[in-house]
């Protein structure tokens, strides 16, 4: 799994490539939390390159969305692949996370 962070103004677009499983989710959580600790609490996670996540990935996203919202920010998702969307739906995550078809939409949603 690779994680690439690109700032867009005060929003960070975090592109993930690879599988999010019980081994890689910890690296994802540490990266996201470190970024939030640096004061970046408006995140867009680009999931175009993620074809698989287990509940370990969901736990990383949940912990981060809780932390960003506690600080007045948010974590929003873009470009979710079908099987990952299915896991999010089965876990009831689509009701607590804002989901967008495109990264630009997710970025612009912070200004809305």
């Amino acid at each position: 799994m690779n994680i690439h962070i690109e700032p867009r103004g005060d929003i960070a677009v975090i592109a993930i490539n690879g599988s999010i499983d019980g081994l890689t989710a910890e690296e994802l959580l540490k990266t996201l939390q470190a970024h939030v600790q640096q004061g970046h609490d408006r995140l867009v996670v680009d999931l175009e390159g993620v074809a698989y996540t287990s509940s370990a990935g969901l736990r990383a996203l949940l912990a981060t969305v809780k932390e960003t919202r506690r600080r007045g920010g948010d974590l929003r998702l873009a470009r979710i692949q079908p099987n990952v969307r299915k896991v999010l739906e089965l876990s009831g995550f689509v009701t607590i996370l804002k989901v967008f078809a495109e990264v630009d939409e997710a970025v612009e949603s912070y200004g809305a």
Binding site: G22, S54, S55, A56, R59, V65, K66, V87
Partner: protein, 141 residues
């Protein structure tokens, strides 16, 4: 008519084996198609990590056997951990808003959601056999 069953075995003992285990599952499920492979991969990871984290509380042997034929994928996972019946797993919280949402119970919930049949047998005080079945979609007429 169903294809002759093909059986493949893998032994794992720690989280460090997860990547190799998932590669093994991908290989074993390849003939069954991507959607079936995704479901089985997810279910096996969830069972395996639950056995290590909650059963052993660390490392411990897990034997995995995947049998495929033309109609289904059947996975049997055997451990030596204390008896745990997944029907006793806590129900996941699927409704609370984010600040109150707790992730516990999601693993077994996903296993039941993506597989067609989930069975558990205990072998005394220690030792569990989990049997997971995913049926293949019927071929187009």
């Amino acid at each position: 008519m169903n294809a002759a069953p093909v059986e493949r075995r893998f032994r794992a003992g720690s989280m460090a084996d997860l990547a190799a285990l998932l590669d093994f599952i991908d290989m074993a499920c390849d003939p069954a198609g991507a959607d079936v492979g995704f479901a089985v991969r997810l279910a096996v990871e969830e069972v395996f990590t639950n056995v290590l984290e909650h059963g052993y509380g660390g490392d411990g042997p897990v034997a995995v056997c995947v049998t495929t034929d033309g109609s289904q994928v059947r996975v049997v996972l055997e451990d030596d951990a204390p008896t745990f019946n997944p029907s006793q797993a806590p129900a996941p919280d699927l409704a609370s808003d984010a600040p109150d949402r707790e992730p516990g119970g999601l693993g077994w919930h996903l296993v039941h959601q993506v597989m067609d049949d989930v069975q558990h047998k205990s072998r005394g005080e220690r030792g569990n056999t989990y049997t997971l079945v995913k049926r293949l979609p019927a071929p187009a007429p």
